[in-house]
């Protein structure tokens, strides 16, 4: 009976796994999705791309039952599909790995992974041993190196993301939705995720994959769908589009070179930042010179000392030994404010927790340093603040309804721009960037790269710590590769290649294998 009700495809093939038709959604007066239609077939990976705030996450939330659409319909394998909650969607076979990860901090990895599906034994009580064993099996199957009894709160952003993905894949869903799963992952883990996606589709599952890294999209997508300002602007099968098509559909124009030009040589520039045998927990003694105007990149697999380095440079978890000097003068960066006083600005990777007061307006979030520098007698100059905030919104192209909109309501990329705007109120001497474009679209990325280029042209020494290989290669003058807290290799611009970086990143053994 149900078969009669469902539209039979004309070509006689199976109905689409998920068909979205005419979906609209608005938040208040903000129309976020207009009349969006597309479909995902069984066994297919559909990539969804678009600028920050284009509506991708919103669309996926609609598909996964977080909230209902204002208009339009969904069908799943031909049957009407109107999930009332994420749980209902999951029951129907649609799993969403959130962009903002939903890890429960007080539960262990295993408990998070098998939440709601804990194996039960005697009297229907949860069997903790089996729970951890099962979790370890799932993680091992994906190749993720995550210990099952660590607490959620102790995981890094990348580990949280991996756990989130594992949670969704474990369900062996009919449709898996991954919202920017790779944003905080290094290439090794990204590879694992793509492999898992492939396994799932091979088994007949479908995947919707959101990413701002277009290379991943080119590699993984059987089909690409592009959103711009809530409207569908491209819907093409593999081979029917190239990078430039995607970019054009996303931003409405072609971005030819997203990276700024680098000067040929920097050898004549003075040394701005000098580390001498600097050590921090998780970081072996590091000696480093960064010249004025130079961009030095740090690459490596997840968790090889990137975080300690970023936190030590910014003064959050200061160096415990060695010396650090700016412009030749030793500066003890024992706290963030000492760092700021010495001219070191640093952009944190976890903008939600470490960068922003989400419930406060854009104005208050961007203006801190601008005001600190210009306040008189401790008075806060409100007019100046407003002017500065307006200007920052223009200069950084922050998309918001105005400077009074709470930052929570901005899309991720725009939130990141707010963080930049705050730190760059005053031109620093040293800029430490830690995953500066995590979850940021190409358009905004281009803006941020241009800004970094401008700053380096003004003589700012930039330390770039990133998991995004293209970004490292495109931006840096020199790349150090970290392995287990130590620099295991250095590449000059001429020698940059993903392969070279990967080889060094795999550590001495990996390098040996590759060399052989």
């Amino acid at each position: 009976m149900a078969m009669l009700a469902s539209p039979l495809p004309s070509d006689g093939a199976a109905p689409a796994r998920l068909a979205v038709s005419g979906v609209s959604k608005s938040f208040g007066s903000n129309l976020v999705l207009r009349d969006v239609s597309f479909s995902v077939r069984a066994g297919e990976v559909v990539s969804l791309v678009g600028e920050n705030g284009a509506g991708k996450s919103t669309l996926m939330h609609v598909c996964a039952g977080t909230f209902p659409p204002d208009g339009g319909t969904l069908t799943l394998d031909g049957a009407a599909y109107r999930p009332a909650s994420p749980q209902a969607a999951r029951t129907a076979g649609v799993a969403l790995a959130l962009q903002e990860t939903a890890i429960l901090p007080d539960l262990t990895v295993a408990e998070n992974l098998l939440f709601g599906a804990e194996p039960r034994g005697l009297l229907g009580l949860i069997d903790q041993r089996r729970l951890h064993r099962d979790a370890e099996t799932v993680l091992a199957g994906l190749g993720f190196a995550l210990r099952s009894d660590r607490l959620g709160a102790d995981l890094s952003a990348a580990e949280r993301q991996m756990l989130e993905i594992a949670k969704a894949i474990r369900l062996a869903p009919r449709l898996l939705i991954l919202d920017e799963p790779t944003a905080s992952l290094s290439s090794h883990e990204t590879e694992l995720v793509l492999k898992a996606m492939a396994r799932l589709t091979a088994a007949g599952g479908s995947v919707i994959f959101i990413s701002h890294r277009l290379d991943e999209v080119m590699e993984a997508a059987d089909h690409a769908v592009v959103l711009k300002d809530g409207t569908l602007t491209l819907d093409a099968p593999r081979g029917g589009f190239d990078r430039d098509d995607l970019i054009r559909a996303m931003v409405g124009r072609t971005l030819t070179d997203i990276f700024p030009a680098r000067p040929a040589t920097l050898a004549d520039r003075p040394v701005r930042l000098a580390l001498d045998a600097a050590v921090a927990p998780g970081l072996k003694p590091l000696t480093l010179d960064v010249r004025a105007g130079e961009i030095v990149g740090f690459a490596g697999l997840e968790g090889q000392g990137q975080r300690p380095l970023a936190r030590a440079l910014s003064g959050i978890a200061p160096f415990t030994g060695g010396t650090i000097a700016v412009d030749g003068a030793a500066v003890p960066v024992r706290s963030v404010s000492r760092g700021i006083a010495a001219g070191i600005a640093s952009i944190p990777d976890d903008r939600k927790h470490e960068g922003l007061a989400l419930d406060l307006p854009v104005r208050m979030n961007v203006s801190l340093f601008a005001l600190s520098a210009r306040s008189r007698w401790g008075w806060l100059r409100q007019n100046l603040e407003r002017t500065f905030a307006e200007e920052a919104r223009r200069r950084f192209a922050i998309r918001s309804t105005g400077i009074e909109q709470p930052v929570r309501q901005l899309s991720g990329g725009n939130q990141q721009k707010v963080v930049f705007a705050r730190w760059l109120a005053e031109t620093p001497k040293v800029l430490v960037l830690y995953e500066p474009t995590k979850g940021v679209d190409v358009g905004a990325k281009t803006e941020i790269y241009r800004l970094v280029g401008e700053l380096s042209a003004q003589g700012v020494a930039v330390v770039l710590i990133s998991a995004d290989m293209l970004e490292l290669i495109g931006l840096s003058d020199r790349i150090h590769v970290l392995f287990e807290g130590a620099v295991t290799g250095t590449l000059e611009r001429a020698d940059f290649s993903e392969e070279a970086i990967m080889r060094l990143a795999a550590g001495p053994e990996g390098a040996a294998v590759h060399a052989a």
Partner: protein
């Protein structure tokens, strides 16, 4: 052997309270010959009973990251209901009281869920309302609960008896519920992070309903214990339980921000609080110092938790 997983972390949080209780016992017993007198141990169990039940109810709410300030009023109301109905209903008055407790819990849940009032303020308001109800029912202490209730329940006030059985049963049940069932996991999940819990498929409303109902239920059960102890109703008698129940839970390692702590700790916290007062009396210490001592013990115990690696502060 501690079980694997977050239960282990949570159980360890109750350790300071356990050590504190043990220390008080050691001191009180070595300095006062009366401590191990049969009468005293029985008294202690009887005092732990209402406090630990109220604290257990509070723990449900606290694990879920909420709070219930109406516990004291519910206890008062329960004694009033018991004292006005037990003569005619006999033991059937007890389920009636428990239902009234559930109704108070429902009031809290409804306010928090449908009116979206912050739990602290909602239960503060409902505490006034419930107290009003108790005063309507019984404007001044009185009523009567028959002595047979006392004899049947507290008997000769011995260490081993119904009160101990109720405590053990309630805490064992709750221990299994929180440590080893999916429902318990959902409560911890909600307390750990609302949004994440929702995204993981936790029916937030249902969990909120259940924890407030549980808190109302256990407060009413504590009220029954108090009512039988005093064999009458008193519209103000529960007042001091509200903060004591929270204090006992927290002393036992329950985090006010939710998601952490375990049921055995709550029992240890309740025991420790009861022991402090008892030790002061038996050792004839200056009673004026008792409150100061309680405050200081609190600070020291909390310091121990915080040193023991707490990740988040409220």
């Amino acid at each position: 052997m501690l079980p694997r997983g977050s239960i282990r972390t949570n159980l360890l949080l109750g350790l300071p309270a356990l050590l504190l209780a043990a220390a008080i016992v050691a001191v009180a017993a070595s300095w006062s010959g009366d401590f191990f007198a049969a009468g005293n141990l029985g008294n202690l169990v009887n005092r732990v009973l209402p406090l630990s039940l109220a604290a257990l109810g509070q723990a449900f709410v606290l694990f879920a990251g909420r709070i219930d300030l109406s516990v004291g009023s519910v206890i008062s109301l329960s004694t009033a209901i018991l004292a006005t109905t037990s003569t005619s209903l006999g033991w059937a008055a007890v389920p009636l009281v428990l239902v009234a407790g559930l109704a108070c819990g429902a009031l809290n849940a409804a306010g928090v869920i449908y009116l979206r009032i912050n739990p602290l303020i909602m239960t503060l308001a409902s505490s006034a309302i419930v107290k009003g109800a108790a005063l309507i029912l019984m404007p001044t202490p009185g009523g009567e609960v028959d002595y047979t209730f006392y004899d049947a329940f507290y008997g000769q006030d011995l260490l081993v008896g119904w009160p101990l059985a109720v405590i053990l049963l309630a805490f064992l049940g709750a221990f299994l519920l929180f440590g080893f069932t999916r429902f318990g996991r959902r409560i911890y999940a909600l307390g750990s992070d609302d949004r994440a819990a929702y995204a993981n498929g936790v029916d937030v409303r249902r969990v909120e309903w259940s924890v407030f109902l549980a808190s109302g239920f256990f407060a009413a059960a504590a009220g029954v214990a108090v009512g039988i102890k005093i064999l009458s109703g008193d519209p103000l008698i529960g007042d001091s339980f509200t903060l004591d129940a929270i204090a006992a839970a927290v002393l036992g390692g329950v985090a006010l921000q939710g998601g952490r702590g375990a049921v055995p700790g709550v029992l240890a916290g309740s025991i420790a609080l009861v022991l402090i007062a008892n030790a002061f009396n038996l050792l004839e210490l200056d009673p004026n110092l008792q409150q100061i001592a309680k405050g200081l013990i609190f600070v020291v115990a909390l310091m121990l938790f915080m040193r023991g690696g707490v990740r988040r502060t409220a």
